[in-house]
Point group: C2
Chain length 351, copies 2
Amino acid sequence: MKNFDINEDPHRRFNPLINEWVLVSPHRAKRPWQGQNETIATEALPNYDPTCYLCPGNVRANGVNNPNYESSFVFENDFAAMKQDEIIFEEDIKHTFFKAKPEQGISRVVCFSPRHDLTLPEMEIEGIENIIKTWQKEYTDLGNIKYINHVQIFENKGSVMGCSNPHPHGQIWAQSSLPTQVEKTQNSLKTYFDKNNRTLLEDYLQAELKTGDRVVIENDHFVALVPFWAIWPYETIIISKRAVNKITDFTADETNAFAVILKQLTIKYDNLFSTSFPYSSGIHQAPTDGLDHPEWHFHMHFYPPLLRSATVKKFMVGYEMLGESQRDITPEKSAEILRQQSDVHYKSTKK
Amino acid sequence: MKNFDINEDPHRRFNPLINEWVLVSPHRAKRPWQGQNETIATEALPNYDPTCYLCPGNVRANGVNNPNYESSFVFENDFAAMKQDEIIFEEDIKHTFFKAKPEQGISRVVCFSPRHDLTLPEMEIEGIENIIKTWQKEYTDLGNIKYINHVQIFENKGSVMGCSNPHPHGQIWAQSSLPTQVEKTQNSLKTYFDKNNRTLLEDYLQAELKTGDRVVIENDHFVALVPFWAIWPYETIIISKRAVNKITDFTADETNAFAVILKQLTIKYDNLFSTSFPYSSGIHQAPTDGLDHPEWHFHMHFYPPLLRSATVKKFMVGYEMLGESQRDITPEKSAEILRQQSDVHYKSTKK
Ligand SMILES: O=P(O)(O)O[C@H]1O[C@H](CO)[C@@H](O)[C@H](O)[C@H]1O
Ligand SMILES: O=P(O)(O)O[C@H]1O[C@H](CO)[C@@H](O)[C@H](O)[C@H]1O
């Protein structure tokens, strides 16, 4: 019998945002890897690619020409997962097992820059601020549509994350229902707020800043940290210091500070394995259902798949799909490794 | 305004097993794919591979020699995610945000056959029955250990599912807690049973057999079908007709019928894209906590990643991670396609 050592012993941690557990196996990072390696694009990309459907001036799948845009550019997804059509629907309440209902929605693509080869960590702060302003405008415009109750802003970066075009871009899926993960989060945030009259993330952030163990970057308005309950090896969350409900509540200073932390975090990510670091990221914020949401606290999740190197990722498969998420390195260790990364992008130091 | 057509219009479906929704976009399968293609091993494997740590007689990472086993073979995972050590632990109740507790467990590897090149669909029924008997024995032996309250039997097949060795094998992770997904399922099963005095899956199976739309294979004791709420393109579930709580309750006939349906389902899977079809599969059944579990109904999930071909998978990324699972083809269509697959393995017809 020995005393529990969270840095050494297998254990479970609880995620209060979605009420789920994660299995942590600190010792397991040592096992050898004989499985699949990812192929990582290494050739330098051109500024402009005549075959890219996202570059300025080029033709898209639907035959339309992109404008010669100079900062960011938004268009409706040509292969949207949802449609805007209004559908007549009468719920069949006899269906205990076959419960379905139509979903109305809009999908948009947000090009981050006219430059085909420029990802977030390599952009100027001004360009990133411009993306944030585009997100603010889209959140407002889409949110104002009567049937849109939730606006999901996200980015899939890298082919290993299903991204089919290296031109820097993200997506927005806006829809009538609250998606499953958001609904879970909202329930937790609301329970906490109703009880404490403060947001869950406000208090969580205080606790994290106090220990400092999982903090990666802190500036005047935002903190990037590896959450205590992270499931991906280098998962992070950016939390606003002020309990703002949504991106449109940012002051000019906050917009700037958010751009800065986005750049710094993605530089550290790229530096970790000297590669254009793949991830899915996305913003969680108040729904656009017209109600007040004092429980909501703006945050952005980063879910990167890589575990050991630019080519070896963590597989969330059998046990993870049937049982629960499992990780092989502690969040504290990951935070320490990320903290240690230089703030200068590895590509710029090579020159 | 048009009337809702579940085969054409984007909609959400509800999964009563885990109380989550999935977004279904029937029209979206038509979009072109320019993203990542998987590499699929095509060379024929040898019967015996001297470098394989799972083949009979070979040496494993820990220096131990495998026996010259002739059917299936079980050993403790050399890089287990959990440990058997008992850990002294006092819960710190002040920790609202840093909730963690040690987890005790055992991981085992189950080799399905001494043959390096033989996967489930190519094995004889007798060999598959033998695997089922091994699962029964492990469920009993591990379940009898005092601190083991749940035994998760699963298989990761194919390098795209993080499987690092093509030698046919599965795993068992047995532990003290109910993993997150199992706990969710148990809650739903229990609520339903307490209300109806029948298992949820008993009634669901009746409803599915009545329409037949999603049924892929049916025999005297088991049904394989694409669940109404499937998230993966060709996801299936095998449900026992009798409401048995656990694999050790099978009659000899049921063991045989389970072997038959496992073979038939995996043959159809292989035939779909003429490839050794990757998936993660696993059994959900009663916990081994010593309590009665009349609500539990034996079932096995198959989560295969492929969408369009042997090399193009469905990516569960940005929207799916931040919002909710999304699929591009209806479960009814997938079931129809699977039903149409031959019952003879494509490799045996080539000869
Ligand atoms: O134990 P293996 O086969 O080495 O590892 C595989 O299955 C495990 C259980 O699903 C996962 O945690 C690993 O990420 C995966 O690579
Ligand atoms: O819309 P894209 O970039 O073509 O598609 C990508 O992102 C979507 C949203 O996360 C996923 O549903 C797709 O599986 C993925 O390939």
